[in-house]
Symmetry: D2
Subunit: 259 residues, 4 copies
């Protein structure tokens, strides 16, 4: 793919996060939102861009009931981005067969649907990341590396979110799992006011501390992350990838430049 | 070297930092402080451990004027650690010739003395790190990697120190240089009260921020860093190394374990 | 005014901040947005609530050219809130004469217009606060109190904002002025990515530090602050007030409860 | 007492904290450490200043078994500072009778001993503060005031300490109690490495957060706090005081200066 060409994107999901992602895709200079598939009938046939008050025609909205093999042939894209629900993975098998790359940000896959997603990776490049923001994945990966270099350090994970968020954050749990610390003793959760989202990994040594802290400003970060993921995915051979694997490649490149 | 053997260390420098480093070396289970060389005559022939109120005999103190080729033959160590002054490098050429590893933490080398240090690396493994604390070097290296992965992010460096510290911190300048940002616009310095030392690298994206923050609790961190450096140095072939290069090897190992 | 009655509000200004403030006023259970006055003709005669996609009728929009003495008689409110421009103060003299309270959040008054605002305070209660958010004023007032209790502490002010914000923040300058420290040496400004706004006042003592930190999540904070200001203003006799004076009254009440 | 005169201090307790406090008292220009009383016989008759390597003669050391009514007559001081143990309060009743002020920093009083301390306040000014550092008390008092001004804000308390510290910090519990929040749900405790001590009170509103954060650098803060407390105590009539009450007086003074 020549660099000058925009990445053509098809989006599943047009809820609160999906709509924000669509907005980012429309505005980004290096991507074109070709279509959006949503659960509800409403606004089918209209452009997502117009619904969002923009003066362009991008992101034709389709009802999920209209999606079939023919749809993907008639509306080809480079990457399908999925911010919808677990079972949607069943819908785009034929697109994967013809090589369309898949980026899924579904956080609550059923076991079967996740298996299905993995199956698609035999035919195309699939990126799966339940939290697609670059910053959170950088937090995860740098923490992982630091953990390996100073395994003797105590690890504490702190997450802060708005007061209504019910459970311990999934991202904090994922970090705990990757760093091999017990979430029950290592994760502190603070709920207060309207905090968008903050995650901190603290490494405590006897004479110094190192903290890596990610703060979300708003959910547009998911759109940017999806776009970066899509761009990287275009360069990958078929296979199943996670965001931290793709970032790890960049980490290695960066390390190579060290003299 | 079998793992069960302690690393034998010879230390140049017994000022405020040197003494703290000596203290850490004496207390660490995997190192033995064989001797200490200091500028002044005082306490020569006594043990550094006794001077520090410890109940062991480690770190026989020698006057710098007594150091010659014979000294190194009669008092062999695995690693020479140098927390003294620029010109000291001239003293341990013969030790380097016989393969003793060198770890130098001198921050203000003259051009000639630094060239001399590099020359020693043709005969043995030499580690040079003007700030030897592990945390600061982890801050530097993770920042460097993040910078390469998200070059579009704005970079700001914040350093806080006690009110008497005169200039912008050398570590902040070094980070700015490595990240290729202009210190004049990117480094903010705060001087207040008795803050031991804090460095923060902030990456700002439109919808999220990532901060990596190092806080010093006390200068014993230098001793721990020197010890870690000495341990790593034992595994290195002859050559000239920096702390971030040695850490980069650990980073790569950590990345390899990612699945 | 019996407590059960809502505060009736008239708003000048319907730009980015004004519209956000209107939104908060409409949604708050204890206030009623009676009207909005804007510079442009557009949407005059419509409800601000409808423009914002709400299912209520609040905030009839009027063109500024239609505002005169009769308007205030026919559309009485308890408090006029001004988020528009310097010269608007000339428009609501007759409202002040009849006792309507005034809350102004104009940050760049001309000398004459500010004098005019002060003149209105002979007839009614006037609250002037260029940054009306409660949090920022709490930061200011707690810092001021701490400064008086530990005058020996070093003071540093740190402000972080999005990369496009050109100058040092007005709030930081105001804090510096109130704390009697030189902004040139005491205020550090960081510009990076999309940071909404953060202000920190650091007090450094030899053996401890105290930091008071305010972080804005979004500009709805101005609406909440204006509402709190309006509520407090309802209890004030005529006169000229600042937000920190009104907060200081609450501070004193709080201190009285200490045993 | 003319301002030019130094405050004469008698200190009970010469353990780790007591010795640090003594050190601060000796070095401070406006106080004179007259004597130190310790539990053990060792070094009785020597000067605390000499034990600490200083070139002055301050703080004659006495054994606790030698303390009686005559001792206080023969070795008069302005303020007795108590960093020892619960039952020590029984020893200085006669000193209180003759008007010597008492500052107690005992954290674990038995019910009876605390009652005894309160009884002394009928004869002299008594200051009781289990955490005497100024910063911690400023944190407590500013938090209390903010809590009263924005009672609708969510409150979270975060405390970080070195990994060996067993329980939730007493200071965090005290803050929770004063702010009337449930420690079980409001206090998060982090234990990692060698963190000296950090307490943060977070107020979360829908659109902004306010954080007040205290960080201990080392325990000399107790000495400074005791000295400030002693100075304030010199101006107080007889009665029982807490540190936050004395600070509250300064808060009110500061508020009075607001125009």
């Amino acid at each position: 793919m020549p660099r000058s060409k925009k990445i053509r994107i098809g989006l599943f999901g047009f809820g609160r996060t999906g709509a924000t992602v669509a907005h980012e895709m429309i505005n980004a200079p290096d991507s074109e939102l070709v279509w959006v598939v949503r659960k509800s009938h409403s606004h089918a046939g209209e452009y997502a861009s117009r619904l969002q008050g923009l003066q362009s025609d991008e992101g034709m909205i389709h009802w999920v009931g209209d999606i079939n093999r023919a749809f993907f042939r008639q509306n080809p894209v480079d990457v399908i981005i999925d911010f919808s629900t677990s079972e949607t993975v069943r819908l785009y098998k034929s697109a994967a067969d013809q090589g369309t790359r898949i980026l899924s940000a579904i956080s609550n896959y059923s076991r079967d649907d996740l298996a299905e997603l993995k199956k698609l990776s035999r035919k195309t490049a699939v990126l799966y990341s339940p939290n697609i923001s670059i910053g959170v994945n950088l937090l995860l990966l740098t923490s992982l590396v630091v953990r390996n270099v100073i395994p003797q350090a105590d690890v504490a994970i702190l997450e802060e979110h708005f007061s209504q968020k019910p459970d311990i954050s999934g991202t904090a749990l994922r970090i705990a799992k990757k760093l091999k610390v017990d979430p029950a003793t290592s994760v502190s959760s603070i709920r207060a006011g309207g905090i968008v989202g903050k995650h901190e990994v603290l490494f405590g040594l006897p004479n110094q501390t190192l903290r890596i802290t990610h703060e979300s400003i708003n959910r547009a970060a998911f759109g940017r992350g999806a776009l970066a993921g899509a761009t990287w995915l275009m360069e990958c051979p078929k296979g199943f990838y996670t965001m931290e694997q793709l970032l790890a490649i960049r980490f290695r490149e960066a390390l190579t430049q060290l003299k």
